[in-house]
Symmetry: C2
Subunit: 236 residues, 2 copies
């Protein structure tokens, strides 16, 4: 069975990506990170999603990107609330410096050991916050570098690594519909950047807002959430 390493955050994009990889016949080796993120809650979701999808193996690597800082997700900087970032506008402070590069680098190392040429990432360039490390030109450059970086890609050219981003040009609504068709249980996923002290989603960060927009446009009720009296999307 052909193997793939899939980056699995526990959010809806990566859960859908994992389901797509499985539907394409891959034995999925899921990789998650405890990197000092404010929404560490997503790791519980990554475990529930991995179990629910029957993923072959799930590895969690720990480090602290808070040592580097520079992001509202890893440092004591407020998460912006209330409006989705405008397309083409400045990149919001929820951007984590070099995060996807660090994640893909670990995925590359694991893929080399597993002899798995395929790496999957849930990057997409619609309904997202404009992060540079989600763009196709970045992913292509990473793939090129990956094929010079490893013993397996050089010695006897045993492996040619491919960075697969099946969601790249899909809208959030299309992603949700595709995942729903593949049986992804979105009640297990977690998107909120700023979990509240009572354990609920904040309903107002970029990630909550993109999620809400996606479910609305897909005409599907988000099984994780409902609106509260003030109209914010929260967990029941």
């Amino acid at each position: 069975m052909k193997k793939a390493v899939v980056l699995l955050s526990g959010g809806l994009d990566s859960a859908t990506t994992a389901a797509i990889a499985i539907s394409q016949g891959f034995e999925v080796h899921a990789l998650s990170f405890s990197y000092g993120q404010r929404h560490l809650r997503e790791l519980e979701s990554s475990k529930a999603v991995a179990k629910s999808l029957g993923i072959h193996e799930h590895l969690v690597i720990n480090f602290d990107m808070g040592q580097i800082g520079g992001s509202a997700l890893t440092a004591p900087i407020d998460v912006p609330k209330g409006e989705r970032p405008p397309e083409g506008g400045p990149i919001p402070v929820t951007y984590v410096p070099a995060r996807n590069t660090v994640f893909l680098s670990f995925a590359l190392g694991w893929a080399e050991v597993l002899e798995a040429p395929d790496i999957f990432i849930g990057a997409n360039i619609n309904d997202y916050s404009g992060y540079p490390d989600c763009r196709p030109e970045y992913l292509e450059a990473f793939e090129q570098m990956a094929n010079l970086a490893t013993k397996a890609s050089v010695e006897g050219k045993k492996l040619h690594f491919r960075i697969n981003a099946p969601l790249l040009r899909m809208t959030k609504a299309q992603i949700i519909k595709a995942g729903a068709a593949l049986g992804v249980d979105y009640s297990l996923t977690w998107s909120c950047y700023d979990p509240q002290p009572d354990g609920r989603t904040c309903g107002r960060c970029d990630s909550c807002l993109f999620r809400a927009k996606g479910f609305e446009e897909a005409g599907i009720t988000d099984p994780l959430l409902k609106k509260n009296k003030r109209g914010f999307i929260i967990q029941p």
Copy 2:
């Protein structure tokens, strides 16, 4: 003062690289990793070297590449002994999958936060074990990727990252001479992949052998080591 992030393992190459960066007028932010390496001893050296060179700041990031495995440095695989790997031969099992890619990725994230366009790495392609992630074509591909990966390189093009590898085409002897001229105290450095239970170097791994050859060719006595009765290079 212009800033640089310098990968500092505690070995002689990275110590020399840091000294070169300082001699070029950089404020050095040194980055080391506790990554589950068998020779964790090198971290003590990285701290001593940083102190001795008067490095501005030294950060150690922790994770466990042993979770991925695939290398004699991070998994229970014997470190080869007794012969330097032949040029153009197979890459030895001391290769750690995607290690330099992971290290450079963290360096990139930190460089972005520090607004430091220059990243230094002690890679070189003479007197080395043939690791793919030390070659110029790899470093160029990483640099290209880095300049698409970050907010700072995209938004207003505030930073253009450069991967500096000043030792790239030097022999080990040339490196040692250059470092000695810059006042690097090599007695503080550590190269051995397989520290012995008594805390000494093994004297017979690739890294010990390249170090010994370098000092011999440079006509300098390695201040860390001497030969024992059986002719092996060991710590006094």
